[in-house]
């Protein structure tokens, strides 16, 4: 009789133990996107090199060109990449990390103006270049502004901005 009582108590205890296992709290959901702090982001030049397959073949422009041609001042950005094909093809990449949201807005406007000027000068003169530039877009994500002109412009632009 005592043995039977002990066995029943053990059985009840087992049942309780098993049911307690099933009530574990849920793990906290991991967010779908985690913003990478600036210190941990890839340098813009390295990012462009990894995303743009022909980056090494393109002609590179400097800070002075960015100011002289586009009117973008050095105090408006922390990093930039400005590449253009050495010819009349219309292949071009411009990417800048702005210092703040206002600067990003101004840079985006400058790139839009520049894109329009490039379209105007190629429309009748270099039709193939015009085709690429007509399809190109300026896009901003957080503080990064990008203009990509090329056969895979949309994909390259998306890859450039993905981690920004």
């Amino acid at each position: 009789m005592v043995k039977k009582l002990i066995a029943i108590c053990l059985l009840i205890l087992s049942v309780f133990a098993l049911s307690a296992c099933g009530n574990q709290p849920k793990e906290a959901e991991t967010p779908a996107y985690t913003e990478v702090p600036p210190a941990e982001r890839m340098a813009l030049s390295d990012l462009v090199s990894s995303v743009i397959p022909d980056a090494g073949d393109l002609v590179s422009f400097d800070e002075e060109d960015l100011t002289d041609i586009l009117g973008i001042e050095p105090e408006e950005y922390t990093e930039f990449v400005y590449l253009q094909e050495n010819g009349l093809s219309g292949r071009e990449i411009l990417a800048l990390r702005a210092v703040d949201a206002d600067a990003a807005g101004r840079i985006a406007q400058r790139l839009e103006n520049y894109l329009e000027q490039r379209r105007k000068e190629t429309r009748n003169y270099a039709p193939e270049a015009y085709q690429l530039l007509a399809a190109a877009k300026v896009e901003t994500k957080n503080l990064t502004v990008a203009l990509v002109s090329g056969e895979n412009a949309a994909q390259e632009r998306a890859q450039l901005l993905a981690g920004e």
Partner: protein, 258 residues
């Protein structure tokens, strides 16, 4: 015997004197990196040829950072010499872009005030034919005169240089028959430059083949534009020009007192 030796000595002496009198004294050829400093504080302005030369220079600077590093380039694909002669922006024209906006040459030079300004334009002006009763070459020279007036007004300390019109390929010559016209234009441009205090720079001759045309091998479109080989010839012509300026006493690079 003594007389013979004397005659021989006199003859030898005379030949030595003759050699030194007949021999021209030539100045040393300066190193390329020194010749490139002639182009410090310089602006190159013009059409698609200037644009492509700019890209060629930038490409070379990847491995040679000092390669013509003193030149700033301002260009537009269909840029005309007559647009360079405007004092105000005409939005219907192919304009230079400066700091994000269309701008005229003289205002850019007013802002930049370079020591030297080199201009290459005319290809897109169609100076080969008469327009409204005015002969093409005359239209060109009117534009040159106007440019000089504007430069005197807006940047009088800048020395102005005009590049010759560059040759075209056989393919273009077959269609347009302009070779002789452009040789005539260049001759008149040289004369006008002398009259107005500008400097004429001949880059046509080094680019021409034996027929006076641009060889296909140095053109990237078999029409007007230069490939890397063609642009290398242009770069060499610039170095030769700087050397000529040095030899003529027109320029002394730092560290080379004449």
């Amino acid at each position: 015997m003594k007389k013979g030796s004397l005659i021989l000595a006199v003859l030898l002496l005379m030949s030595l004197i003759g050699t030194s009198v007949g021999e021209e004294t030539t100045m040393e050829r300066l190193p390329d990196e020194v010749l490139m400093t002639y182009y410090n504080d310089t602006a190159f302005v013009g059409d698609s040829l200037i644009r492509m030369f700019r890209n060629y220079v930038k490409d070379r600077q990847k491995k040679e950072p000092n390669f013509f590093k003193g030149i700033k380039f301002y260009s537009s694909y269909s840029y005309q010499l007559r647009t360079a002669a405007l004092e105000w922006v005409n939005p219907d024209k192919s304009n230079l872009v400066y700091k994000g906006s269309d701008e005229v040459l003289c205002k850019i030079m007013k802002d930049q005030k370079p020591a030297r300004l080199f201009i290459l334009a005319g290809l897109n002006d169609n100076f080969a034919r008469e327009v409204n009763g005015v002969e093409g070459i005359d239209r060109g020279m009117r534009a040159v005169t106007k440019i000089m007036e504007l430069m005197e007004k807006y940047s009088p300390t800048t020395q102005v240089y005009f590049f010759s019109m560059t040759p075209v390929t056989q393919k273009v010559e077959n269609k347009r028959h302009i070779r002789e016209k452009w040789d005539e234009y260049n001759a008149q441009l040289e004369k006008t430059c002398q009259e107005l205090g500008a400097v004429y720079v001949d880059i046509a001759t080094p680019l021409k083949d034996e027929n006076g045309l641009l060889p296909k091998s140095i053109s990237n479109d078999n029409e007007y534009h230069l490939n890397d080989k063609g642009n290398a010839i242009w770069a060499q012509a610039l170095l030769d020009f700087a050397q000529a300026q040095y030899e003529a006493g027109q320029w002394t690079p730092a560290g080379y007192a004449q």
